[in-house]
């Protein structure tokens, strides 16, 4: 099974776009600041083993923007409600960047519906002396280039001419990322105090050439979550699930298979 169905669901009064494909244990994927909406090769591969569920966050892309949305805590509560509404249990929760922050925050609040947690270059904490990239001052081209270590990926993304709808979705995504991540920049100073509560098997994945959230954040995250494991991918930027899709899929599958 590699094809996905696209549909809309209303949770907490907010209509969100969802992609869903595959059969097996549930794998809920929380996207980063660039939005979702595309069934990536990464999802296709994972959907051979899992039921992969990819919602687009409230306020992003094709999803509605609810009045209640102010911060990442709202997202964490939203996805707790989401899992409850769809009766999801033993969920393998995977989040990248902003989505990783949401996933970590969610797990601190209530991990009862989780089986495993995978954080791919997650935002959410700050390491003093290690600045993140100033993503809001980058030009659109710099933003794309700085996401990848291998510039052939950047070239492919830059070659795509967005239509009017896609341009609007990109503006919407940038606005929402600013809304929840501008200050403090891409983190919550209170999150790190409680990450030790996460008791589910946790994998942290980072690209060694990440220019958005530098790889030094990997060990910091690992040390804050007891028993978690860190995997660093060589020659990889901020989007391991795209730039090193095969390696990342293999890491996640192996980790979930071995998780007790």
């Amino acid at each position: 099974m590699s094809e996905a169905k696209e549909f809309y669901e209303t949770v907490a009064g907010c209509k969100v776009q969802m992609l869903r494909g595959g059969k097996g244990a549930p794998l809920l994927f929380l996207h980063g600041g660039g939005g979702a909406g595309i069934w990536l090769p990464f999802f296709k591969t994972l959907s051979e083993q899992y039921e992969v569920i990819v919602p687009e966050h409230p306020g992003f892309g094709r999803s509605d923007t609810p009045d209640w949305l102010d911060n990442v805590g709202d997202y964490a509560n939203f996805y707790l409600e989401f899992m409850q509404k769809f009766g999801l249990k033993d969920v393998n929760l995977v989040g990248t960047s902003l989505g990783g922050w949401i996933a970590a925050d969610l797990a601190v609040r209530d991990q009862s519906r989780l089986k495993t947690l995978t954080l791919v270059a997650p935002a959410g904490i700050h390491v003093n002396g290690v600045p993140k990239g100033d993503i809001f001052l980058w030009t659109p081209e710099q933003s794309v280039r700085n996401l990848f270590a291998d510039q052939t990926f950047a070239e492919r993304v830059l070659a795509i001419q967005p239509d009017e709808d896609e341009r609007r979705r990109r503006m919407k995504n940038a606005l929402m990322l600013a809304k929840v991540g501008w200050q403090p920049r891409l983190y919550d100073p209170h999150l790190r105090k409680w990450l030790h509560r996460i008791a589910k098997p946790t994998l942290v994945v980072w690209g060694d050439s990440d220019k958005v959230i530098p790889a030094q954040y990997g060990p910091a995250y690992r040390d804050l979550i007891p028993g978690s494991k860190l995997e660093v991918l060589a020659n990889c930027g901020h989007l391991p699930h795209i730039e090193k899709a095969g390696d990342t899929t293999a890491l996640i599958s192996k980790f979930i298979a071995e998780a007790k």
Partner: protein, 395 residues
Amino acid sequence: MKFFFIHLMPYAELDLDYDKQHNSAWVTLPNTYYDAAKGTKLYNRYIDELVYADKLGFDGVCVNEHHQNAYGLMPIPGVIAGALARETKNVKIAVLGRALPLLTYPLSVAEEYAMLDNISGGRLIAGFVRGIGAEYHSTGVNPAESHDRFHEAHDLIMQAWTKPGPSRYEGKYYHFDYVNTWPRMVQQPHPPIWIPSQGSSETINWASHPTRKYVYLQTFSPADQLKRFMDMYRAKAAEYGYEASPQQLGWATPVYVADTDEQAKREAKQHIEAFYNKFLRMPFEMLIPPGYLSLASMQAVGQKARAAAAGAAATTIESVMERGMFICGSPDSVAQQLEHHQKIVGYGKLISMMQFGTLPHDLTMRNMELFATKVIPKIRHLGEDDRPIKVEAAE
């Protein structure tokens, strides 16, 4: 017509070659470009120029607020306004900041403005702005919260001035159990309020509301945009059921006067081009961070603004004069241009910026003199409307 003299207080000693290494005079331009010995002279020179406007008979002087840049050295405009409150005798003193959303304690503005109104004996004009996008990079305040914080801070400050204290303010971003500003305002119930903007339908709808009828200032914009937004204000007022007075409409623009058109253009050229190309220089991402505009506004202006930001380096004196972004010439020709725009646009307040970029002191003073003695008398009668502006009681 009422005439105001605005100063931005640029760091006129800026090494104009900075842009070989840096893409903006804002936010990220190293402050090692600043020399305090030169700055001391500039500040005092600029205050002298503002005081001179009082002696020349301008109706008011204006200062403004920007942060971390070479474009304007007034991050705390109240410092300059405080000096002016003592050094001037007749002019109104307009503070065309404060950027309310940037503050965690907006009652400091209620206090600061009340102090200025007391020291100046009721000559304060209170400006409220959101600040341009660059301020959000400089201060870290979330641009996506800017509109809501502005409205809350405004309501809070108005409450501090008009409701006997202590009172309570309960907002989302601001919550105070004791709103009890000392000192109280000289001007009751509150000083005139001006809203400077680069043009926004949301701001105009809000400022023109019958409970406010605030003075709307269009700043440094092409003539066609000036007309568009002034028309928008009048149309909105008509929709609200009243006729907007020219007193409610102000235009802020750089102005340069010399004996002849040719001399004016020759003298102003390098300085106005430095203003637009060097001091105002900033990339689109700095000017308009995500969230600073609503999605709808972003879609409307996004592409245009991006093109404008990218093309800023190509500005010439001819192009800004052609677009009505710089009024320059002999006294007669400046008077004609201002009259021409007044007839089309209907503004009743002119906020002339008569020092810009690197324009030196002697040329600034002569510019001001010629304007005050040879331009103002010719056009003073335009846009006059002495009927008091009556606002409706708020709900």
